[in-house]
Symmetry: C2
Subunit: 147 residues, 2 copies
Amino acid sequence: MRARDLLVEFPTVALDTPVIEAARLLAEQGLPGLMVVDGAGSPQAILPGPQVLWLAVPGYCQDDPALARVVDERHADTFLTSLGDRTVREALPAKPRELPVSDPDATLLELAALMARTRSPLVAIVDDDRLLGAVTLQTLLAKALDT
Amino acid sequence: MRARDLLVEFPTVALDTPVIEAARLLAEQGLPGLMVVDGAGSPQAILPGPQVLWLAVPGYCQDDPALARVVDERHADTFLTSLGDRTVREALPAKPRELPVSDPDATLLELAALMARTRSPLVAIVDDDRLLGAVTLQTLLAKALDT
């Protein structure tokens, strides 16, 4: 079995997509993260799901989540509005992670090695810099358990 | 809105659950990870999804995933059999991550702060050490976008 047999379509965002749209995609589709592509559609980064919260949560709350409780419930409910029109570019981790990218010929073991190494539940599959889709941990495990 | 309004049931595994069973749960339910509980049902750790691959993939392949391609396809397809009866305890990261745990009164902002801080897409909700369930990033985002 090869990566091409496990491909799923995976929604992408651009570096200048508003983070709030990225949050909406994650909420609607229950994805583990989003693929960030450049203008030519080539993968630039993975935006891990929890990272969309990073810009919306004040630093003092991240340092000590218990401090977040001093914010009253009504304001706590609407914390995402603080994202305004900030973009995915601003939300990406400062130290970019190794990008889990492979090609359509990758075997199950190769995809698993890449996920284990990068701690990513998805691998982008590209052919000549063109994004074909992704292989998710869920699909990989289902196929590997089925063989 | 409080954590108690966002609770979902979340499957748990024990420290001596075979990793292959954890992999099956992840494959069947498309979860971002699993909650590891002790005999009394109290959360001990989060097993991030990609971590189930860690024991199954030889170290040299993790160091350089391209090396995995020298393994022929038939053996690559069945790499999970190498897990044998190894347990979740052996699969947990050596350096345990901060455990994202909160209580039923936590606000949306507090849960978001915990997810952003621990980079976890789920928070375990406990009451007097008893696990009530989890709040997932997906539910949190859906509610926060809806308000």
